[in-house]
């Protein structure tokens, strides 16, 4: 989870998906961190906002 990813939409989606995967593993703190990273890159990424709210 520590490697760097290139910037761009794929990165945001990947971070969001990682958050969802971590949520599925019940690693909620890490999931929230991934969602928040995605939102730093794209504050208007609705999926990440909803996902962070759902935690």
């Amino acid at each position: 989870m520590s490697e760097r990813w290139p910037s761009g939409r794929t990165t945001m989606a990947a971070l969001n998906n990682r958050g969802t995967a971590l949520k599925g593993l019940k690693r909620y703190g890490e999931a929230l961190a991934r969602y928040e990273e995605a939102l730093v890159l794209s504050p208007r990424l609705a999926d990440a906002l909803y996902n962070s709210a759902n935690l």
Binding site: G29, L32, R44, A46, L49, Y50, S52, A53, N54, L55
Partner: protein, 130 residues
Amino acid sequence: MRRHGDALVAYEGARAIAPDHPDADGLISAALAVCDWARTAPLTADLYARIEAGWPFTPFALLGLCDDPGAESQIAPPATPPTGYRRRLPGGTTTDMTAIRLAYLVWGHFGHGSWTAAWILVSNATDRGG
């Protein structure tokens, strides 16, 4: 994670961007969780319109918002199988769906699968119904 305040802020931001998102009504549930009636009042009127348009909503959350039987009956059918219906199960048995309906309600009430609901479903599958 019981981050109700953060959740409310995130839901409001998300709804401003994507109001038709499947999770949009999570704002109402989050507001209910902290008894924020000032937030729920305007959302309830909007929710009626969404239910009328066919949007799914959690029956138990709606019970905390209104006593309108019309709205309740409109969202209940998708959440529970109909009464008087017998479904054939693997092995040739049938069920009147009562236990499965109960399991659905338990499942919905806790917002996720539970051992109780799973036990009801499994025990129903072994019930020798007519």
